[in-house]
């Protein structure tokens, strides 16, 4: 197994963990953290392909990860603000009870 494959397997496992958390847990904060883990797994892939890819001196992977980190920070801030707004409206953050918009 080459190092690139090892890195990709690592990020695949991390992505699956985040996916399981998103699917199984019902707390909105934990679901958001699962999404963050999946995003981190994508960043790991960018770094791995940059490190072992054909043109590492160009640095595309690193540049992409820097932008992805900035967008992830914005996403976390907005997501947690939504969690707080949800808590203000229904006094808990369980996603199964957030059904006010259901038709």
């Amino acid at each position: 197994m080459s190092p690139l494959q090892a890195c990709l397997l690592f990020s695949s496992a991390l992505f699956s963990l985040g996916l399981i958390a998103v699917l199984v847990r019902s707390n909105a904060i934990l679901v958001l953290l699962g999404v963050e883990l999946m995003l981190n797994a994508a960043n790991l892939n960018f770094i791995a392909f940059w490190r072992y890819g054909p043109a590492p001196a160009e640095g595309h992977g690193v540049v992409f990860v820097v932008f992805a980190l900035a967008v992830a920070a914005a996403e976390a801030a907005v997501g947690l603000a939504l969690v707080i707004a949800l808590h203000r409206h229904q006094r808990n953050v369980r996603l199964g009870e957030a059904r006010r918009l259901r038709g």
Binding site: L23, G61, V62, A77, L80, A81, V83, I84, G96
Partner: protein
């Protein structure tokens, strides 16, 4: 390779335990360990700037925001919330299927073997790239971050009529 295996094992173990725990505070603290592990992977791969940015953004900032959100939304009767049991088995099945699919694709694809040497792409080269060909994207990201943080403040601080009490 042994360093990579150790980093991967620690990160995955911390993330798995964090997402399985009942208490959200413990989950957040363990996820900080997992993010530190990811930063260690970036250092191992030779992307120093990204590693330090990961530590600053995730370990420093997002973890604090998560902890504040956990404390602000904690139910008064205690943190014990029972998960609905009907979703566990399909969730684990779907996650395992995705993991199997990804691992199979990774192991069967003809990937480049890669050179052993770390690429020479330091902070100076990254800065030249960011402020040269990617300057427009950098400005757009700055605007996005400002707007998103303002929106977060508006969302979290809005006082509607129905809960003015």
């Amino acid at each position: 390779m042994t360093a990579l295996a150790a980093i991967a094992l620690l990160t995955l173990a911390a993330a798995a335990i964090a997402l399985a725990l009942r208490d959200l505070i413990h989950s957040a603290l363990l996820l900080i360990a997992s993010w530190v592990g990811i930063a260690a992977f970036y250092l191992w791969a030779g992307a120093e700037f990204v590693a330090f940015a990961q530590v600053l953004i995730y370990v420093g900032a997002i973890s604090m925001v998560v902890l504040f959100a956990v404390l602000l939304t904690r139910p008064p009767t205690g943190p014990a919330t029972r998960e609905p049991s009907g979703r566990a088995v399909p969730g684990f099945l779907a996650g395992g299927a995705v993991l199997g699919l990804l691992a199979g694709a990774v192991l069967s694809s003809p990937l480049p073997a890669g050179t052993g040497a770390a690429p020479a792409f330091g902070v100076r080269e990254l800065g030249l790239k960011l402020l040269g060909p990617h300057a427009g994207a950098l400005l757009a990201t700055a605007a996005l971050l400002t707007v998103a943080l303002l929106g977060a403040v508006v969302l979290a601080a809005a006082r509607g009529k129905e809960d003015a009490s």
